[in-house]
Amino acid sequence: MDLSQTLKEKQIVLIVFPKSRYNAELNNIIRAADASSQKICYVCLNKPYNSILSNIKTMGLSESKYFFVDVLTSTVKTPAPLDYCEFVQSPSALTDISLAFSKAVQEKGCDNILFDTISTLTIYQDIGEIIKFSQNMMTKARVSNVKSVYITLKEDSEELVKDLTMFVDEVVEL
């Protein structure tokens, strides 16, 4: 099954690939998620939202289809409020990310949540906390009947991948 088909058919998907292929695989994942969703909540854990937005425009995708949760920009400056982006104070503010998730689903009508890249959180948090957080997000996604995609980099944490595997509908190794 190709990635687009998997993202269409499965509710919660974990995608694992090596760090060296991040840029190339990310574009494929964005295209596949874009094709399987009405509106995407893009949780920027690895790059600030403006970098992702610029990438989305370059790919010729409709930017209006995206709502961003940016955990990086506020760590370097105070961003001006935006309608299409929720700024979270820092990557370790997991409760705030969870609240932004709820806003994306309830107020912005997002039907797919893309976590790019969940394993980046291992820099800031204990793996147990990241797993608890991810589990909580997955439960919220199931209850709200929205899809979610979790990108992880192979090198970041084998244990994180093994634990998340227990709760997702499909694991895709690229």
Binding site: G128, I131, Q135, N136, T139, K162, M166, F167
Partner: protein, 123 residues
Amino acid sequence: MAKTIMIVDDEPHIVELEKAILESNGFKTITAYSGADGLKLLEKAKPDLVVLDMMMPGMSGREVCEKIRKNPKTKALKVIFVTVARFSEVGKLSLKDMNVLDYITKPFDNDDFLNRIKKIVSK
């Protein structure tokens, strides 16, 4: 003779609740608040069942279970998981691979918790 249940959970109120349910029904309990402490206790204790929380800081229940299965002294122990999230179909297959006999979702019904423990221990 009373059966012994080991409870491993990082949340003290859950440990206390499970301990109270089990001890008031004739079980003996051993408790640990982290996976590492649980594994240390298993070097000496030989419980009839290990009730493992899935999500713990430091070492997850899955990781603890893998270590139990790798150790010749503990590999045959009966293990069940307690979790706040539901396992996916992929996850349920992993449970079989790890020989995890059941899983209980938090918050649980006390009677259901007790009945499932009784059933597994009596097998």
